[in-house]
């Protein structure tokens, strides 16, 4: 060994290094890819935040769900394409027997990795009942689930206490619908409790091979997967919070699929990177300004109303999105059940009314804080908001925060920071089910997801009633009234439902996304 080391002179070492470096440069390969270099077909994509919980009973947000959909099976899933619908995944057959019963039959031969055996109805029962059994912030996904009946290894019946329309649009095809191995979870976590980022058995086409916080998630093929072979051998997901940074990463060749900002869209269209296709999809998310009703400065509804009226939404959208975004009329985007034609407060607001409200409240020249993510889009929104509030004598101090800190501000379980939260520039992804939004603003969600601490008995009644109704028109009426109640509380000023443009390298892939542009990695095809 010493001989080998001894025989390598400093000059030879430098020469070899230079040759290797030169070779990489000559091949035109970005350094990051050279470091990553691996055999096989590799999909490298950007996520807007890091994964933090790969436990279906405790998942939070879209990114966790995107990764879970690669490593676990669900009975059904959203169908990629331009229309919202679902398709079978682990279920061979599934049907609504009556308003409170759904019967399903599993496909045979779906195996859990690490010798945890075949996926059976026992695992389905364990997975779904676990969501409501544990005190999870996501347990509203399963609403009034009572239990799952096991008829045999492959046939089961999901039983609800009351009719639950969102079962088909939220519970079954999304995060809490993923199926885990009962044996594996009972072994990994006491009483089958949360297992966070250490899943031990996989039932999807990929396995969770590696995770470096804030650096990457690596998924590799599941050797025991018996379903259709996925296109890529490896999926690498890089968490890049700032969308502008993601654009630079794409241009540098570090990633091959990313969403892009709306204000960059025109530029990328006229001057797109080589071998790149840009697609535009309508987003169903929501960006809004929220106010903490329980904060002493905002307790008076007249103060909140003043802030609502002072906000000129088109001005904010002009600055943050180059005027390319449509003004939101409520939490629910166009095309979703419950979409409102217009908001109660006109988009342009009214400074005279804002000042009048402040006079009613008997306050003037006060300071509020605005919490937002430390990302260009949200900082721009916060700065325009700051300028608009100054017109009514309100000084706004911006607290830009990283995602880890930001996404826990309003949670009582994470300390007392919720008490200091005043205004917040908030954004939420959504699913094509209005209950997904409404369930987060009920009174029992105060301090969990309901950070504005909005509290309305009528809202809760409507929320409970809406999930029992099948008729979309009847449901829509209730959800419209719910949004009216929220806006009338003064705690919300809706900005935009957003848009979801993305770009990808045509020499690498043919992507598959939901109608709102959310990637469905399992269905991506290599080129």
């Amino acid at each position: 060994m010493n001989d080998v080391v001894g025989s390598v002179s400093r000059r030879a070492f430098l020469k070899t290094g230079a040759t290797l470096g030169g070779g990489i440069m000559a091949a035109g390969m970005p350094l990051s890819q050279a470091i990553w270099a691996a055999e096989g077909k590799v999909l490298t994509a950007r996520a807007n935040q890091d994964v933090d919980k790969l436990d279906p009973a405790f998942y939070l947000g879209a990114v966790n769900s995107e990764v879970m959909s690669c490593i676990y099976s669900k009975l059904i899933r959203y169908k990629p394409g331009s229309e919202w619908s679902w398709e079978l995944e682990a279920a061979e057959k599934i049907e609504q027997v009556d308003p409170t019963h759904i019967r399903f039959q599993l496909k045979k031969g779906i195996k859990f990795s690490n010798d945890y055996g075949e996926l059976t109805v026992r695992d389905v029962k364990f997975s779904f009942e676990r969501v409501i059994r544990l005190d999870s912030p996501s347990n509203f996904d399963w609403g009034p689930l009572d239990h799952v009946e096991v008829e045999d290894d492959y046939t089961g019946v999901i039983v609800f206490k009351t009719p639950f329309a969102p079962a088909w649009t939220l519970a079954l095809p999304y995060g809490a619908g993923h199926i885990v191995s009962e044996d594996a979870v009972m072994k990994a976590a006491k009483d089958g409790g949360p297992f966070g980022m250490t899943p031990t058995a996989f039932s999807g086409p990929y396995v969770f091979a590696d995770w470096k916080p804030n650096q990457h998630v690596l998924l590799t093929r599941n050797p025991e997967w018996s379903g259709p072979k996925p296109g890529f051998d490896e999926i690498r997901i890089l968490p890049i919070g700032d969308i502008k940074t993601a654009e630079r990463a794409y241009q540098a060749g570090d990633i091959d699929f990313t969403h892009i900002s709306v204000d960059s869209l025109a530029n990328f269209k006229s001057n797109s990177p080589a071998d790149t296709t840009i697609e535009e999809k309508p987003s169903i998310g929501i960006v809004y300004v929220g106010m903490n009703i329980d904060h002493p400065k905002l307790k008076d509804i007249n103060v909140r109303k003043a802030i609502q009226w002072a906000i000129n939404v088109p001005q904010i959208l002009d600055a943050a999105y180059a005027g390319q975004m449509e003004v939101a009329t409520g939490s629910l985007a166009r095309g979703l059940i419950g979409y409102r034609d217009k908001a109660l407060v006109p988009p342009e607001g009214d400074l005279a009314k804002a000042k009048e409200s402040l006079e009613k409240a008997g306050v003037s020249d006060f300071t509020v804080t605005v919490d937002c993510l430390n990302q260009s889009e949200f900082l721009t929104i916060a700065q325009v908001l700051q300028a608009q509030l100054s017109q009514i004598g309100v000084t706004a101090e911006i607290n830009a925060q990283d995602s880890g800190s930001f996404y826990t501000i309003g949670m009582e379980s994470e300390g007392d920071r919720w008490k200091d939260m005043q205004l917040i520039v908030q954004s939420f992804s959504n699913v094509p089910e209005p209950y997904y939004f409404s369930a987060t603003y009920t009174r029992d969600q105060i301090g969990k997801w309901n950070w504005e601490r909005f509290s309305s008995e009528r809202f809760d009644e409507l929320n409970a009633k809406a999930i029992t109704i099948d008729d979309p028109n009847e449901r829509a009426k209730l959800y419209r009234e719910m949004q009216d109640l929220m806006e009338d509380s003064g705690a919300y000023r809706y900005l935009t439902n957003g848009a979801s443009p993305f770009m990808y390298r045509t020499t690498r892939m043919q992507p598959a996304t939901r109608p709102d542009g959310v990637p469905h990695y399992v269905a991506f095809k290599p080129v």
Partner: protein
């Protein structure tokens, strides 16, 4: 025993390195030093008289179109909020200079006092202060900065505090070493024998001898502080929006570089000029006041 005349010659040895005119003459001979003086004066004057120089309100949004190219109305174009970049760059120069002078000034003052105490005080105090200095120095600077800012929130005060705390031990250690060397010198012993008190010895004989090298050290640190302040603002951990700041302008430019390169140029050039100016000036001052140090380096 040395004669009183010799003692006083020795005591005054470090107190002056020539008149202000001599310093200026020597600076003029040093081309980089002259360039440094010009750059520093240019930046300082533009920062002091910024309100008279700016052409628009630097925080007012939509005074022009978004991301406009430079024109007669907007000399460096506009940013993503339609704010005048020239006015933001000029006003933005006040922040790094303020941070540099306040943070280095306060760390210099505290470092000087603690260094004198450590070097001239009892052994136990010296050991205790050294332990404190080394403890502070043992934290990686950037991690310490992130921790303090996470605790206090991003603000100008946090940035100043971080820089002051992390710089202080260096100055204190330099002062302590010099003081300890002077403490056992003959002229201090002579002063003592003539009945001079500790305060007089420190103020009249020790302080003038340690302040020179310390000022050179501080002047060399200014560019580093400017870079740190800009870096923290670039990361969104410096001053709060909408206060104009070079690091924040650079960050905006990075975000919108695909749409316009002017923001990156406008944010980057002043940082480069300021750091170069202070570096050249600091090196020139070091050469003038301490040519021996230059040889050692």
């Amino acid at each position: 025993m040395a004669s009183l005349e010799a003692i006083h010659t020795e005591a005054n040895a470090g107190q002056g390195h020539g008149s202000f005119r001599t310093v200026l003459r020597q600076l003029r001979k040093n081309r980089l030093g002259t360039l440094g003086v010009v750059l520093v004066l240019f930046i300082a004057v533009s920062a002091i008289f910024a309100p008279l120089i700016i052409t628009h309100d630097p925080t007012r949004i939509m005074v022009g179109p978004r991301l406009a190219d430079p024109s007669l109305n907007f000399l460096l174009g506009t940013d993503q909020l339609g704010r005048d970049t020239f006015s933001r760059v000029i006003m933005g120069g006040r922040i790094p200079l303020l941070v540099a002078f306040v943070s280095l000034g306060s760390s210099l003052a505290v470092g000087l006092v603690l260094g004198l105490l450590a070097g001239f005080g009892p052994r136990w105090l010296d050991n205790l202060l050294l332990l404190i200095f080394d403890t502070i120095r043992s934290f990686p600077g950037i991690i310490f900065a992130l921790a303090v800012i996470a605790l206090l929130g991003p603000s100008l005060t946090s940035v100043i505090l971080v820089i002051a705390i992390t710089s202080m031990p260096i100055y204190a250690r330099v002062v302590r070493t010099q003081t300890e060397a002077l403490r056992s010198s003959e002229y201090i012993a002579a002063e003592r024998s003539m009945g001079a008190g500790t305060n007089r010895i420190l103020a009249v004989h020790v302080l003038p001898n340690v302040i020179g090298p310390l000022l050179i050290l501080v002047s060399m640190d200014v560019p580093a502080v400017i870079a740190v302040e800009a870096g923290l603002s670039f990361l969104g951990m410096g001053v709060r929006p909408p206060t104009p700041d070079w690091g924040a302008i650079l960050n905006d430019g990075y975000s919108y570089i695909h749409e316009s390169v002017w923001l990156v140029i406008a944010g980057g050039i002043p940082i480069t000029l300021a750091t170069l100016g202070f570096t050249f000036l600091g090196e020139a001052l070091r050469d003038i006041f301490d040519p021996k140090l230059r040889k050692d380096l």
